[in-house]
């Protein structure tokens, strides 16, 4: 039990009358990188957004079943959303930097979670540089840290969105196609970065890049039409998939 970071049981989700998830069961192991693959529209983002409960903002979303995060019921009564989301950081498909300076973006959640405790400018500078270096952005932006983050290119924005999670040291990172807006070089660097997070963070990463899933994840989950088809160690899933649907997908076969 202790080594499971995320566990869903019979999770169903409806957007209005449209059912997007059907009895999803998955266990994501602590400190591991688990990739989530499947055709566009099969419910990967929906599943991610259910884990940190951002789907709730839509009034017409209904869920049944349960989601445990770090052994705790994420939908439990005493769950403080701020706590949950500090533990569970998320990177979205579309970069969503705040309309603030680069500096303030990176330090934003840190400032919120630190409360009234003062941090000196030099402490913040250290956090800032460390976070931006980890995402390979430091050299590009170090001379314009006060520039508005929305003026960055798409790629830089996405890197920034990853960087801003790091100062609060979350334990689970949900990543929704974090590299799809990046070029191969940055993608490779990011993969490396994510790979180096192994052991210190639990990472659930949605990717359309099969090579990426293969290279940079330890477990792999395959979804199809809202159902969790198969979860297995990545090597096994790619070498000997149990279901014909999985085999078709990873071999790129289509009707």
């Amino acid at each position: 039990m202790a080594d499971i970071a995320i566990e869903t049981r019979d999770l169903n989700l409806w957007y209005g009358t449209f059912q997007a998830l059907f009895d999803v069961n998955i266990q994501v192991k602590k400190g591991m990188i688990t990739s989530l693959i499947g055709p566009s529209g099969c419910g990967k983002s929906t599943l991610l957004r259910t884990v940190n409960r951002v789907n709730e903002r839509l009034g017409y979303v209904r869920t049944t079943g349960s989601v445990d995060v770090l052994g705790q019921d994420a939908f439990g009564e005493d769950v403080e959303l701020a706590r949950l989301r500090k533990e569970v950081g998320m990177v979205f498909q579309r970069p969503n930097p705040l309309p603030l300076s680069i500096r303030d973006n990176v330090l934003f959640s840190h400032r919120i979670h630190r409360g009234n405790a003062k941090a000196s400018k030099s402490d913040e500078d250290v956090l800032l540089e460390d976070a931006l270096r980890q995402v390979l952005l430091w050299d590009d932006v170090k001379d314009r840290l006060n520039q508005n983050a929305t003026s960055l290119s798409l790629e830089e924005q996405q890197k920034l969105c990853i960087a801003r999670l790091l100062p609060v040291k979350p334990s689970v990172l949900l990543m929704d196609e974090p590299t799809s807006a990046l070029d191969p070089k940055a993608t490779a660097a990011l993969e490396e970065l994510i790979w180096s997070f192994r052991g210190s963070y639990t990472i659930l990463i949605v990717t359309h890049n099969m090579a990426q899933a293969r290279r940079a994840s330890e477990d792999c989950a395959f979804m199809l039409l809202g159902k969790m088809m198969e979860v297995a160690p990545t090597a096994d899933l790619f070498l000997s998939p149990q279901l014909p649907e999985t085999a078709d997908y990873i071999e790129g076969r289509y009707g």
């Binding site: 529209g41 359309h208 790129g252």
Partner: protein, 254 residues
């Protein structure tokens, strides 16, 4: 292989954003019924090139374009009726935008602008374009759902369907598949190969493999400059002259 007059002739094209040079002195030709690939690292100016082709400097007071762009021999930097130009040119940009209307209306938007009113005709266009964009099966039962609430990859395919609905002569694709899974991407790529019988396609991609699969000729952009243009096979077989192209292409295959 290509002997007819170019569909698109670009001469000495430069694009600036404020003081920042994004493209510098680009000259190239795109011929009818070819897929013309553009590859290059981030910020090399690929997107800016496509933006200039659709006269998008008009949306951005910061953007200036210099040089000549001839579309079927006519200089588009001078034409008045940019709307006619844009109706002939379909564009798909990497950040998909589902318009805040139903899926059906998203795809019927351009045909309606073009004056098509008959329901049956619109139905046919919507279905054909959604099928070509590999989206039809997923949404055929909810065409009246909002396009802006689809999943990322579905919105991207919706954007492709919308571009096709214009019945374009020239299709500009900018990283059209980044939010779509490989299987679906293959489906769309097959459609593009069929489509080039009818239209001309300029394909910007940072997946060099995709350029290799699809493009007849490929241009390599680097730091705002065009390094070279070559038959795709030459480019990938290392015949090309420029060392930088070879490095870029090979670096990806490692």
């Amino acid at each position: 292989m290509v002997d007819n007059a170019p569909k698109l002739s670009v001469r000495n094209l430069s694009v600036r954003y404020g003081d920042k040079q994004a493209l510098n002195g680009i000259s190239l030709d795109v011929f009818p019924n070819e897929i013309f690939g553009i590859i290059g690292p981030a910020n090399s100016g690929k997107t800016s090139f496509l933006r200039a082709l659709n006269r998008m400097e008009e949306f951005d007071a910061n953007m200036t374009v210099e040089g000549d762009i001839l579309f079927e021999g006519q200089d588009i930097t001078a034409i008045r009726n940019v709307y006619a130009l844009r109706r002939k040119v379909g564009v798909v940009f990497p950040l998909p935008v589902g318009l805040p209307m139903s899926i059906y209306e998203n795809v019927a938007f351009a045909p309606k602008l073009a004056g098509i009113k008959k329901k049956a005709e619109l139905d046919e266009i919507v279905e054909r374009c959604l099928i070509r964009a590999a989206l039809w099966d997923e949404v055929k039962d909810r065409l009246d759902a909002l396009g802006s609430l689809l999943s990322g990859g579905q919105q991207q395919r919706l954007t492709i369907a919308r571009a096709l609905s214009q019945n374009p002569e020239l299709l500009l694709l900018d990283e059209f598949s980044i939010a779509v899974d490989p299987v679906t991407t293959m489906r769309i790529e097959d459609v593009l190969k069929e489509l080039k019988e009818e239209i001309t396609i300029v394909l910007v991609t940072n997946l060099v493999q995709q350029a290799r699969r699809l493009a007849d000729r490929t241009a390599f952009f680097l730091e705002s400059e065009l390094v070279e243009t070559a038959e795709t096979e030459e480019l990938f077989s290392g015949v090309v002259k420029d060392q930088r192209t070879r490095d870029y292409v090979e670096g990806r295959f490692g």
